[in-house]
Every structure is written in C-alpha cells, then in structure tokens.
Amino acid sequence: MTQPDDFGFTEEAALLKESARKFFSEHFSVDKLHTMVAADPTPERAPEVNWDAALWQQMVDLGWSLLAVPEEQGGVGMPLVGVAGLVEELGRAAFPCPLLSTLSASYVLAASGDGAHQALEEIAAGETAALAMVNASGSWSPADTSVSASGGRISGTAWYVQDAGKVSRLLVCARAGDKLGLYWVAADAAGVEITQDGIVDPTRDQAHIQFSDVEAVCVSEQAGEAFAAAMPAIWTLHAADMVGAGEWQLQTTVEYVNQRQQFDKPLGFFQAVKHPLVNVMIDIDEAKSLVYASACAVDCEPDKAAQYAHMAQASASDMAGFASSRSVQYHGGIGFTWECYVHLFFKRQKHSQMLWGDGPWHRARLAEILIDSAA
C-alpha cells in the first residue's frame, strides 16, 4: 500500500482541526492558561494538578477523547492523520488535559486484541487513561518496566507517568515471568499510590506511581507487540503537540520582534533575529510535514510507520528545544520574566522534547531501520 499524496487529510479532518482551533481560541486563551497554572512561582513549590475539568468534559462531549477507539468498541476510529490535526491545535493551546494520554492508551489497547475491548469501551464511555510503563531511569522501552505482575496483581513503581493526576484509569506495562503484560486498573484502586512529581513544566502533571499488590485486569500478555504496533501513532501525536506549541512560539516571537523597536527599527529588521526565526519556521515545517507523513503511514503504509514516526519525533524534538531557546532570547528581558507567557511554552516544550525519546534516541532507532537493513 502506498500513501496518498495529500496524506489522506480529508475534509472531515480539516473540519476537526478548524473546530479545535476555534474551541481553544474561544475557551482557553493564554491568559487563562497563565492564571490557571502559574499562580505560584516558587521554585520549590509543592506539585499541583492545575486544569479545567469542566472544559475537558466539553471536549469529551465533542467526542475527542474517543477518536482513537475503534468503531466496534463505540469509538470513532478516526484515521491518525485527522487526530494529528486535533493534537497540533492542543499543543498550540498548551491545554492541560488527558487527551494525549487517553489517545495513546487507546492505540495500545487497540493493538492488544480482544482482551482490550472492555477497556476501550470504557474510554468510549468517557473514561480517561494514562500509560504507566517507564522505569526510574526513564527508559522508553516497555520491556524495561519496573512493575511486575503475578496472578492478576501488580507491584512496583512506574515513573514519568503523564497526566496521572487527571485520569481515571491506568494502563500498566508489567512483567510476569518471561511475559510482558498489559494491565488495566482504576487510578483510585486500593494499593495505587500516585505521587506527583515537582516538575518545571506547569502545563502538565507527571507522577510516579507505586503499585502495592494491586488487583488489575490483564488486557494482554503480549505487551511488546502491542506497544510496537502502537508506538508510531503515539510518537506522531507527541510530535504533533510539539509542532503546535512550536507554532505558538514562532508566532508570538515574530509578533514581538515586529513590534519591539530598538535603534529605531523593529527587532525583526536585524538578521541576527530574522534569520534564526526563519530557521525556527523551517524546522517547524519539517516536523509538521513529517507528522502528517507519519500519520498517513500509520493509516496507509504500516510497514513504513515506525520509520516516519522516528523521523517526525526526532525532527519535532530538536525543533522544540531550538524554538524554545529562541523564543526566550528574542523576547529579551521580558521573555525572562514569570509574567510573560513565553516561559510556559518554553517549559512545556523542554519537557516534551525528552518525552518518548529525544532526537538522538529516535535517530538511533531510525538508523537501525535505514542503515543496518542496508548492510
């Protein structure tokens, strides 16, 4: 199967993207974001989970949280390319909510066979979920999980769990002997202890979760395969989030440098500002084009999905770091203050840059495909 030249980005996908942008611009200005998440600047502040659950409910009502659930389980089963459009807008708004986590869990579940139907139906009914699979040293390989399972009960600690403070369900990767299993458990089940991390990024919550002999539903005993099948979609969406946030950084910085005068000229006159911002734009465009090519590969050419997804996330991750650095630098003194919104996206992007593998990690995986296979 080959990819359609237009990524299969249908009118329906365009409509969803457009309505998402409208939704955020109407309901969630960046002022609102700042008020919500940046009330306490103290570096040593206690972890908080700041979000607008009511607004999230509206998104659920619009059906956005169940886009990745197959139709058979009551979801929408939308092609990834359309979902990527929505997530790009989510990133642009830096909206704190469990959408990305729930979509990610959905892709893993959808690749897990019959045992996952019940869980998918719960998501279709409005439940939300986070993936718990990373060990203490931050490995992105599910096989490195430090949670173990035995007789339908799981124990151990999962780290770097995103949105743990917002979801109702957890999808846990746990080792049972020589098998790697997937377990579905309520976030408030007995024996689940969620400890929020004190993180730099105020637009997200992150936690480590200790499971103490917790009863959990085994969704699949072939977690490795499920993750392998689902990761390209997860990487693609994560990259889409960075692309959206990158667009916010670019647009905001360009507006600032076009308006701010120094030496009787707008800052944007100076090539030392203009050219690096053009480079930011170029990097965003590369990442964005690869996001849609990757989504399209997941939809239409699964053999190539991992290859494209590694490219998309490597590109987006590097871009997120570069765009962040330039957004602060060219906002000058004001961009260095807490009151200026630039720091929110800076912190979100520096966080995103490392999640699900950074640029070098994805390029190393890509090299295994493109270089080692050519040996």
Partner: protein, 411 residues
Amino acid sequence: MADEQLKDTPEQAEFRQRARAWIEDNRPAEPPVRLPQTPLEIMTPEQMDYLQAWQKAAYDAGLVGCDYPEAVGGRGMTDCQRIANEEMMRARTPYFPNVIGLGMAAPTVFYHGQEALKERLLPRLFSGEDIWCQGFSEPGAGSDLASVQTFAERKGDKWVINGHKVWTSLAHFAEWMIILLRTDKSVKHDGLSYFVVPIRSALGNGVTVRPLIKMTGETGFNEVIFEDLEVDDSFRLDELGKGWQVAMTTLAHERGAGELVTPRSGGMVNKSSHSTSASALIKLAHATARNGGTAADDPLLRDRIMQQAIHEAGFAASQRRSRVPALLDHPMRLPLQNKLLMSEISQGTSGLAMDIEGAASSLYLGDANAPDGGQWPMAYMNSFGFTIAAGTSEVQRNILGERVLGMAKSK
C-alpha cells in the same frame, strides 16, 4: 492503482496513461559519455547532443509545455505538466538540458512577451533546439540585483547594449539569453528593462562568451561581454522600466513558487552518474572502513546521516503538504523554502560524505582509489554554487522573514 491517480481529472488520467506508455516504449539509451551532476555543468557537445535529443523526443511526445497554449507550441492542457513530470521522474529518464529555458525563460516570455515573440521563441525552447541562458548577475550586481549596470541605449527602433554579465551557465551552448538591462541611469529599480537577446548568432559580433573556471576545476559557467550589440525593440518584454517586475516573474518560477509548473525530467542512474542523497551516504558509510568496522557502525556518523535522511524526507513531505490547503497557514511559506532547503540539504549531504570518507576525502577525480570516483568533494564544492547563485541562502532567509513572517526589510 497508484494513489496519485485517485486525484486525477479524466483529462489527466488519460494523459498519464499515454505518457507512461510512451516513456516505457521510448526510454533513451545509456548515454555514450559521463553526464555531469546537473544540467548546469554540461561541458561537451557530446553531452549536449544526447540530452537535446531526449528533450526533443519528449517534446514531440507532448511531455514538455503541456499547460501552455498550442499557439506558442504547448498542448493547451490543464495541470498536466505535473503529471508528465511525475511520470518522467518515476521512470528516471535523463534530465532536460534546457533548464533555464524551461524554468525561467519560458514563463517570463509567456507572461511578458508580445504574441509574435512567444510564437517564434517558445516552440524551439520547449523542444530544446534552442538552449537558453540568463543574464542577470554582474560583477557589481550579485545579491543586489537591482544595481545592474549593463546598459542599453536607444537608437531609433534598436537598442545598443554594452556591459558585462557573469556566472552565465550554459551560455556556451545558448542561442538566446534573457537579460536584465539598465535603460535609465537616473533611477534604480525603475531604470531596468527586460529583453531577450540572441547570443549565438552574435558571437564575435558584439557578444563574447568566455568560460569561467569553477573552484572544482570544471567549466560550465561563463562571463558574457556585450560590446555595441544591437537588438530590436521587439525583443523587449513588457514596458520600458518594468524590468524589475518582469525579473520577479523569472525568480518566482526559479524558486518553484511561480504559477506555471516547470517541465522536469530526471533521475536516470547510469554507471557514471552519482547520487547525492542520504541513501548514497548510507552506501558510502557501509563501504568505508573505520575503527575495525565500517563508518556505518560509528554512532556519531549514524546520527548525522539520519539527520540528513530526515531533512530529505521532510522536504519531500513538505512538497506534499504544500498541496494540502488545510495544512497551510501562509501560501508562500513552503514554496519560498524550496531553493534554500535544496541547496542546504545538498551541502549538508556532500559535506557529511567527506567526513565519512575521512582521509580519503582528499582524493579527487584523477585518483583511481578515490571513493565514488572523487565525486563527493566535487559535489561539496559545487554545493556552494547552490547556496550562492540565484539568491544566496542569506537572501533566501531575508525573503522568508520578510514575505512570510512580515519582518522589516533588512536592507
């Protein structure tokens, strides 16, 4: 059924089928000589003859100038050049030699020339019988194109041209030149006019073409000196003093940002051709011994090769995205990146190849032990032609900052 066909109109679908069939039956034979990396480096008549024959055959088969009206030698079709290009690129036919004619002169003459001129010039341009070159740059006018000094003085119905153009690729084969001339010294941009001038017929008679040698040691571009060359006023494109605006049409098409799709063929691999893509880097890395293994095992080189592969794939994906309006915020944002990205990807790839080669990157074309025949250092040096010519990379970034991001002009 390939997916692009899903989007074809009935006219396009029928055209595609015809094109594909013709190409299959008429694929040109292996060239008798080594072909250079791009048509701009064609040096010998043997190379040119082979390539001109191919362009003529493709033109006769209706694959060149498809979207131009029949009156000017085109085929009067709608959005079919793209289809022809896709099929020729897919079939990896040889490139067309008349690149400047097709990519720059044709749309400019078409939009700004008088009817009689179009009808006279364009058919032989499309067929490749007349090779074209471009006379914009001068010793004192590079990035600052509007400071062109080559002067055309009015003499009744004629103009008398004196001056000096440089970096004129293909001038040694060209019948015609598109040229930007100063017709008024008292104003800058508004003192320019745009002409087509016959070069070959005036050689030794008002026109001197002198080859310039590149840092690679190759020839292929030239300086062209005009001494009292008389041309007819009918060779003027558009109004007097509108040369700058006409030149913008040329440059927009050169950057791939123009209205008309340029006929494009290419990709032929033969024993002496040399790919500069990331996949060629991978082959090179596998073939290069390093630290007891090969360069393909070196983690730092792997990372950098993948960076190039990603830039390449990203560029291709952006070409696709530029045709999906729902994924575009600004219509010129992607097209205006084309020239810059192609230049810099090319420079990055060939520069990295030299790093992969290590000590062997010192070996050049005349050395039997040079990896890939010494093509990589040559490609790296030639890449500076791309980042300098036709608007330096610095100028391209200005254009992007100013036209797309709305920043104040840097000059």
